[in-house]
C-alpha cells in the first residue's frame, strides 16, 4: 500500500484545461472520493495517476517515489473503468488472470488468486463466461476482480456503480466500502454522485472546472463548505442561498435582503459586516416552520409541498425568494398559507459574494 501525492498537477488537451494545479495527498489505505460534475476532470486525474496521461505540469508521487514518468505497467495500480473495459474475447477467468499472467506469476498461483477473488466477489459460477454474457452488475464485479487480483498498491475506480440500477448501487456501495477496509488498499474513487461520495469515502476531494474546491472529511464538507460551489453541490435537497448584506444595529448583526431580515451570531455578523455584499446559505434541515406569530423569524408563504414519506420538502416564498425546508411529514400546511420560519443561528453560512469563499472566524 502506498501514499499518493499529486503536486501542482495540470493537464491540458490543446487549449482545453482539464485539470488545473491539483494538490492532493492520499494517505496509506485511505478511501478518497473525487467528486464533481460531469467534465470537471475526474477521469483525467485518474488516468494521470494510472499513467495513461502524462501531466502537462506537476509531479505525481507514490510514497516518496516520483512516478510521473513511469509507464502504467510499472506503477502496480488496479483500475476499474467507467465502461468496465473487460476484454470481450477472453473468459471471465482469463480477464482476471490477465494481469497476473503478464507478471509471469506461476500457473498454480494464478489459479489460486483468481478463485480467491472470484469467491470474494461471488462470481465463481461466471468464470467460464465471456463478458458479453454478463449483466451490468456482474461485469462490474469482474472488472473489480481484475483490478484486485493483481494486488495493486493503489486502486482506482472510475464511477464503477453508475451503470447499475438503484437497488444494486446501494448494495454495492456498502460492499465496496467493506471490501476496501478489509483489504486496506489505498483507493481513489471517482463519482459525480455526492451521496456515493459521502457514504463511502474517508475524505472527499470536490472538483469543479478542473480545480480542487475542497478536500476534507464528508462531515466537514457538509458542515463547513469552503465555498458556494461545495455548499451547493453537497447535500440533497441543496442548500438555500440568499444574496444580501450584513448590517449592524445596536450592537446586533442582521442579514438583510429586501424584506428579509435574519439575526446573525455576533462573530459571524462582524466578519459579514466587513464584507458588505454576501450570500447567506442555510440547509433545508436548518430551517424551522412555525404557524404562530410572535416567535420572531421571517414571515413566509407556503409555495409547494413535496412529500417524501418520512419528511416533506416544504417550499416557501420569502419576499420573492423560494427556500426549501426539510420538515417532518406531520407538519401539515397548505399552499398559500402564511407561516413564520426561523433560521438556526449556529447553522447559518455566509459566503463572500465576489469570491464565493466561506467567511470564517476562529
Amino acid at each position: 500500500m502506498v501514499r499518493v501525492r499529486l503536486e501542482n498537477v495540470s493537464k491540458y488537451f490543446g487549449r482545453v484545461a482539464a485539470v488545473i494545479d491539483l494538490n492532493i495527498h492520499v494517505r496509506d489505505g485511505e478511501f478518497v472520493a473525487l467528486l464533481g460534475p460531469s467534465g470537471c476532470g475526474k477521469t483525467t486525474t485518474l488516468l494521470m495517476i494510472a499513467g495513461i496521461y502524462k501531466p502537462s505540469r506537476g509531479r505525481i508521487f507514490f510514497d516518496d517515489e516520483d512516478v510521473t514518468d513511469l509507464p502504467p505497467k510499472d506503477r502496480n495500480v488496479g483500475m476499474v473503468f467507467q465502461s468496465y473495459a473487460l476484454y470481450p474475447h477472453m473468459t471471465v477467468y482469463d480477464n482476471i488472470a490477465f494481469p497476473l499472467k503478464l507478471k509471469k506469476t506461476p500457473k498454480s498461483e494464478i489459479d489460486r488468486k483468481v478463485r480467491e477473488v472470484a469467491r470474494l466477489l461471488q462470481i465463481e459460477e461466471l468464470l467460464d463466461r465471456k463478458p458479453g454474457q454478463l449483466s451490468g452488475g456482474q461485469q462490474q464485479r469482474v472488472a473489480l476482480g481484475r483490478a484486485l487480483a493483481k494486488e495493486p498498491d493503489v486502486l482506482l475506480l472510475d464511477e464503477p456503480l453508475s451503470n447499475l440500477d438503484a437497488k444494486l448501487r446501494v448494495y454495492m456501495r456498502a460492499e465496496l466500502k467493506k471490501l476496501q477496509k478489509e483489504l486496506g488498499v489505498t483507493t481513489i474513487y471517482v463519482t459525480h454522485d455526492q451521496v456515493e461520495a459521502m457514504t463511502m469515502a474517508d475524505r472527499i476531494a470536490v472538483m469543479n472546472k478542473g480545480r480542487l474546491q475542497q478536500f476534507d472529511a464528508p462531515e466537514v464538507l457538509y458542515n463547513r463548505p469552503a465555498n458556494l460551489f461545495v455548499a451547493g453541490f453537497i447535500g440533497s435537497p441543496p442548500m438555500n442561498f440568499v444574496e444580501g448584506s450584513v448590517v449592524e444595529r445596536n450592537g446586533e448583526y442582521f442579514f438583510e435582503a429586501g424584506g428579509f431580515k435574519v439575526r446573525l451570531p455576533a462573530e459571524l455578523g462582524r466578519i459579514g459586516a466587513e464584507r458588505g455584499e454576501v450570500v447567506l446559505g442555510v440547509r433545508p434541515e436548518d430551517l424551522e416552520i412555525y404557524r404562530r406569530d410572535g416567535l420572531g423569524g421571517v414571515e413566509a408563504s407556503i409555495y409547494v409541498v413535496e412529500p417524501l414519506g418520512r419528511d416533506s420538502i416544504i417550499n416557501v416564498k420569502v419576499d420573492g425568494t423560494v427556500l426549501k425546508i426539510l420538515a417532518p411529514a406531520e407538519i401539515r400546511v397548505e399552499p398559500g398559507q402564511t407561516v413564520r420560519i426561523r433560521f438556526k443561528p449556529s447553522r447559518i453560512h455566509l459566503f463572500d459574494k465576489k469570491t464565493g469563499r466561506r467567511l470564517t472566524y476562529s
Binding site: 495513461i52 509507464p71 488496479g78 473503468f81
Partner: protein
C-alpha cells in the same frame, strides 16, 4: 367458426410468404444451380448425348490433375504451373492488402488528422470506379516502371495494381473493426501491465482478427479470379493464370471439343471459392453485421 377462420388466414399468410421467398430468392438461383449441376455431372461423364445429356461415369476428365493433357493450345499441358501463377497472384494480393489495409484502417480509426472524413469519402468513391477504365493508364504506368513484359515481374506489377484496387474497401472494413475497440480497452491493458506491443498482440489483434481474416479471404479470391488485368498485360503464355488459361481453352473448343476436360478444370478453378464460402460464412456475415461482441 372464427377460430377456424383465423387459422385459415394464418395458413394463407404463411403460404404467401413461402411463395414470395421462392419467387424472389429461389427461382433466380435455379439456372445457376442447374449450370453448376451440369458442370459437375459433365466433368464425371464419359460421353455427352446431344451435347447436353451426360452419360457414363469416368474420372478421365480430371486426369489433368495427375498427367499432362494434350490440347490445341499446348501439346503437353500441365495445370500446376498455372495453379502456381494464380496462387502467386492471389496470395500476393492478399498479403499486400492485409499489410496495408490493417495499418490504414488503424490510422483511419484511431488517429485524428486533417481531412480524415474527406479521405474516407474519397476512398469509398475510389472503390466505385471500374478497373477497365484504368487499363490504358495502367499500361503506360507499368511500362514506364519496367514492370511490363518481364516475366514474373509483370505478374508482380499486376499484383500491386490489383491490391491497390482492393485496399480502399479493405481499409474501410478493418477500420470498422478498430472502431469497435474502445480506448478504455487499450488503457485497461496498459494498466494491467502490458507494453504497447503487448496491447497490440493480446488485445487489439485478436479483436480485429476476424476483420483481417475476412479481408484476406476476399482479396485472395479477387486475386484468384482476376482475369482482365492478366489477359491484357501478360504476354508470356507461361505466366497465364487459371482464368486466362481456361479462356484460351474455350476459344479452342471449335477445333477440338473437350467438354469434359474443360468442365473439370472449371470446377477445379472454383474450388477455393466454394471452400472459403462454405467454411467462413459466419466470419463473412460478421463483416456486415459488424462488431466485436464477445
Amino acid at each position: 367458426m372464427p377460430a377456424k377462420n383465423r387459422r385459415t388466414r394464418a395458413l394463407l399468410r404463411k403460404t404467401a410468404k413461402i411463395i414470395v421467398i421462392i419467387v424472389v430468392a429461389v427461382i433466380p438461383a435455379i439456372p445457376i444451380w442447374i449450370m453448376y449441376a451440369w458442370l459437375i455431372a459433365q466433368s464425371f461423364s464419359a460421353r455427352v448425348i446431344q451435347g447436353i445429356l451426360p452419360s457414363g461415369f469416368t474420372l478421365s476428365n480430371w486426369r489433368f490433375l495427375w498427367t499432362r493433357v494434350s490440347t490445341v493450345y499446348e501439346a503437353g499441358l500441365s495445370i500446376w504451373p498455372y495453379v502456381a501463377n494464380t496462387l502467386y497472384l492471389a496470395l500476393g494480393v492478399a498479403g499486400l492488402v492485409v499489410l496495408v489495409s490493417s495499418m490504414a484502417g488503424y490510422a483511419l480509426s484511431r488517429m485524428e488528422f486533417k481531412g480524415r472524413m474527406k479521405m474516407m469519402e474519397f476512398i469509398i468513391a475510389l472503390h466505385a470506379f471500374p478497373s477497365v477504365i484504368l487499363l490504358i493508364a495502367l499500361f503506360i504506368l507499368l511500362n514506364k516502371m519496367g514492370l511490363y513484359g518481364r516475366g514474373y515481374v509483370t505478374l508482380t506489377g499486376i499484383m500491386i495494381v490489383k491490391a491497390g484496387l482492393e485496399i480502399p474497401m479493405a481499409s474501410w472494413i478493418i477500420k470498422g473493426f478498430f472502431d469497435n475497440i474502445p480506448w478504455d480497452l487499450e488503457w485497461a491493458a496498459l494498466v494491467d501491465g502490458c507494453s504497447r506491443w503487448k496491447v497490440w498482440r493480446y488485445i487489439i489483434l485478436p479483436l480485429v482478427l476476424p476483420g483481417i481474416g475476412a479481408v484476406s479471404i476476399f482479396s485472395f479470391l479477387s486475386g484468384w479470379s482476376e482475369f482482365l488485368l492478366v489477359y491484357t498485360y501478360v504476354s508470356n503464355e507461361k505466366l497465364y493464370t487459371l482464368p486466362v488459361l481456361i479462356y484460351y481453352l474455350i476459344s479452342d473448343l471449335e477445333s477440338m471439343p473437350q467438354w469434359g476436360l474443360l468442365t473439370a478444370m472449371g470446377l477445379f478453378y472454383t474450388l477455393p471459392v466454394l471452400i472459403f464460402f462454405s467454411t467462413s460464412q459466419k466470419l463473412l456475415l460478421r463483416i456486415y453485421v459488424g462488431g466485436v461482441k464477445g
